[in-house]
Amino acid sequence: MSSGQLLTLTEDLTIYNALELKSRLLEALASSDALELDLLQVADIDTAGVQLLLLLKKEAQRAGKRVAIVAHSQAVRSVIEFCNLAAELGDPLVIPATESV
């Protein structure tokens, strides 16, 4: 079990990938004390995706682990902001330098 594992997701966080993503995320969490998620390349996220992120956080909390989203894409950030979930997820929303706002 390594600590500080980084998981980079490239596919869309949507209902279409939800089943597959759930197992990937939970597995990653199981194998690490502190999971870091890089969502910089996530082009789309929907309700199912948001649910998964919330689930992941919840599970981590239950297991006494840490999940941090270290990078957000524009899409992810806007959905988190829209749902006012920044506090719930607890990750700083860093605006990447490459992305002009």
Partner: protein
């Protein structure tokens, strides 16, 4: 229901106007003492109460505007912004605007007219500038990451004017190809989402969680003009597969509590979310939940609940805003205070009072008549009875008149604002000092003295007080002073407006008067007469016509207004040291104690207040009408001559010495008849130009007696003497001047 609302509104407007007065007073004090925290709090409370009340009566435009004012006051209260001149000016203007909004409310219009609206927006923008300057100055620059925290820890702000939409999506929504977030985005397009909370509590543990099911719910605050149906339509596609609850703006606390309890999530947790998205405040939530708890307990104990307490009705009517609740509490305390005060006060319609005074007047006349009959009868018991009666009537008369008396203080304090505004406008530093504010005078007089006073004060501010540099050059303090003073003096009230400014320029007035052909260059006029020429129509000596005064209208209007109140106005001035305008008004307009005198067969009444003494007058025939009274010259006038009464004067005449405005004069009469209570009846319009008579009265015998106008008589007497003397001086300037007793001039 409508009546109740009207009643509420009228109470609200009345109280708000009082609050506005307090606010204005506070703001004026604020400039003098910017660090007085109590004062700032008081101002804030006043604004807060007004806003709270406007919420209760559902007056949006007042609430909106007052809210912005309150924001600024809050910053002021928290010391985020410093007191400054422009700030106070702005807040004072806001007070004015709120007053006009009250007028709109009274007029039962649903929204202010364009003009008021524009003004409101302009003020709103200026308020915003102040608030922005605070924000810019106080908020430290934050990194993006910090900003999130700030955002998330916020939510203390409550937005009652928003819809509350609570939605729990069904598990099959996603499988049905619906995307809940799209619905929310569409919802957001209806208006402005003020707050949104995602409720993730429905997500089960990982093992049971189906990623293709929807477990989310949302609590949304939406500010929109859309109707409930339009909001519901947004969720039409998922209607069967979601739980949707919509609370309209300004919903009751109870409704939210009900909502919390109906929803599946934990009560406290959901409550916190409502607090976070701005539907409720923390204390409301707690109170609501406790109340709910108690209610449950209570119903368990006793089924039949007693009559609903007032508090619940209030909550039931329109409360959700904590601030409204606070304001209501504050208002209640205030109302209780007011009730305590009102317990000693009764509001009476003015016309009822007038009627009472009229009746008392008749009573006085009837009493005098009874007295007369008793005197004639020489029946000692009857005499005694009538004398007791007349004493009682006298007391009734005095207390009846007292009812109409109000202190002049309120009229005076209004000028604080005027002085402040005008001095700002003129760029002068001027302070107002008030004395004699507790002096009482008849209500009808107070109401009508405001305008003339305003003119005199403005005149003093504008023309009287010199600019600061001139003042310093003249060795005066830079800060000018205008004083208002009032006191009682022999049956009249005296109001003085004085300033320590440049005074009136006698030569300039004279030149101007000659130019306007008000006087001839050869006219022999005393200094006093010259400066009083400013009350002539069309007279202005100001070199520059200013916005405030100096257009050549005004002083004559002032004089006319005061004369209409049977009063006089006059000015005394020392060049370089200032001027004093003195207004004299009769204390009451209706009933006086009179002194009855007789000439020939006619009777006349002299107001007793102005009578100083009576002296015997023997054979004082001569050209000059003055006598030596204990070393002082006393000019006198023969009423017989003045009124051209036929018949021969008796060998022994009497002189009634009267005093008015510091001048004494003698009135020569045939007979002294003693004190007499008099109801003054106005003379008809035909007699309007009659000099020396101010009214008439009915004697106990039914005869009519004329009431002498002492002011006019004294004027006639002194004027006649002056003219006589000046002409005398003109003819023989040096030789005879010494022989004239200087006391004659002293009074002029």
């Amino acid at each position: 229901m409508d009546e109740l609302k009207d009643e509420l509104i009228s109470v609200y407007v009345q109280e708000s106007r009082e609050q506005l007065d307090e606010m204005e007073d506070g703001l004026l004090r604020l400039e003098q003492d910017p660090d007085d925290a109590d004062n700032i709090n008081a101002i804030f409370r006043a604004a807060h109460t007004i806003k709270g009340g406007s919420g209760v009566i559902e007056c949006g435009f007042i609430e909106q505007f007052t809210h912005r004012v309150e924001n600024l006051l809050d910053a002021l209260r928290n010391g985020e912004i410093a007191v400054s001149g422009p700030l106070a000016t702005l807040l004072l203007e806001c007070c004015d605007h709120m007053r006009s909004l009250m007028d709109v409310l009274v007029a039962q219009k649903s929204s202010p007219d364009d003009e008021v609206q524009v003004r409101g927006e302009e003020l709103g923008n200026r308020l915003q500038i102040f608030i922005d300057s605070v924000r810019a100055a106080t908020l430290p620059p934050v990194a993006a990451s910090d900003a999130v925290e700030v955002e998330s820890s916020g939510g203390g702000e409550v937005n009652t004017d928003s819809w509350h939409i609570s939605v729990r999506f069904g598990q099959n929504v996603l499988r049905g190809g619906m995307e809940p977030l799209s619905f929310l985005r569409f919802l957001a397009s209806l208006g402005e989402v003020v707050g949104i909370e995602t409720v993730p509590d429905g997500i089960p543990a990982a093992a049971e969680m189906d990623p293709e099911s929807c477990y989310l719910g949302f609590e949304i605050r939406l500010k929109t003009t859309a109707s409930k149906i339009e909001i519901e339509r947004v969720f039409d596609f998922v209607r069967d597969d979601c739980e949707l609850r919509i609370l309209p703006p300004h919903s009751k606390l109870d409704d939210y509590i009900l909502l919390i309890q109906e929803l599946p999530e934990d009560t406290m947790r959901l409550g916190e979310m409502l607090v976070r998205c701005g539907a409720l405040t923390q204390s409301e939530l707690e109170r609501g939940l406790i109340a709910q708890q108690q209610a449950t307990d209570a119903t368990a104990e006793q089924e039949a609940a007693p009559s609903t307490p007032l508090g619940e009705i209030l909550v039931g009517s329109k409360l959700v805003h904590k601030e409204v609740v606070d304001a209501a509490v504050a208002r209640q305390t205030q109302v209780t205070d007011k009730k305590a005060r009102d317990a000693q006060m009764v509001r009476v319609q003015a016309d009822k009072l007038d009627q009472l005074i009229d009746l008392v007047g008749e009573l006085v006349i009837a009493g005098a008549s009874a007295n007369l009959i008793a005197l004639k009868s020489r029946h000692s018991e009857l005499l005694e009875a009538t004398s007791v009666l007349s004493r009682l009537v006298e007391s009734i008369r005095d207390s009846a008149l007292q009812l109409r008396m109000v202190q002049i203080g309120d009229t005076f304090t209004r000028f604080n604002r005027v002085v402040r505004d005008v001095s700002k406008e003129l760029g002068k530093e001027i302070e107002l000092s008030i004395s004699g504010a507790e002096t009482e005078l008849d209500k009808s007089v107070v109401e009508r003295i405001g305008d003339p006073l305003m003119h005199l004060v403005r005149n003093s501010l504008d023309h009287g007080i010199e600019p600061a540099d001139v003042r310093l050059a003249r060795g005066k303090p830079a800060c000018g002073r205008v004083s208002l003073n009032a006191f009682h003096d022999s049956g009249s009230i005296v109001i003085q407006v004085s300033d320590d400014g440049g005074g009136l320029n006698r030569e300039k007035i004279r030149a101007k008067a000659i130019e306007r052909e008000l006087i001839q260059p050869t006219d022999p006029l005393s200094d006093h007469e010259i400066i009083n020429l400013i009350f002539e129509p069309g007279f202005s000596t100001a070199d520059q016509v200013s916005k405030l005064s100096g257009r050549g209208v005004g002083m004559d209007v002032v004089r006319r207004n005061i004369q209409a109140l049977r009063g006089t106005v006059d000015v005394a001035s020392v060049e370089g040291q200032g001027s004093t305008f003195t207004i004299r008004l009769p204390l009451t307009l209706a009933i006086i104690d009179g002194f009855l005198v007789g000439i020939g067969r006619a009777s006349y009444v002299i107001p007793l207040d102005s009578v100083v003494e009576c002296i015997e007058h023997k054979n004082l025939a001569g050209e000059r009408n003055f006598l030596n009274l204990r070393g002082e010259a006393l000019p006198f006038i023969r009423l017989r001559d003045l009124f051209e009464i036929e018949g021969q004067a008796p060998a022994r005449e009497s002189i009634v010495v009267v005093q008015f405005g510091g001048q004494r004069a003698g009135i020569v009469v045939d007979q002294l008849m003693g004190e007499f209570q008099t109801v003054i009846k106005p003379l008809g319009r035909v007699f309007a130009n009659l000099r020396g008579i101010s009214g008439s009265t009915i004697l106990g015998s039914g005869e009519v007696a004329l009431v002498l106008d002492v002011a006019a008589l004294v004027h006639i007497v002194t004027r006649a003497e002056e003219e006589c003397w000046l002409m005398y001086r003109h003819v023989a300037p040096v030789s005879s001047a010494a022989s004239i007793p200087p006391a004659i001039l002293a009074g002029t």
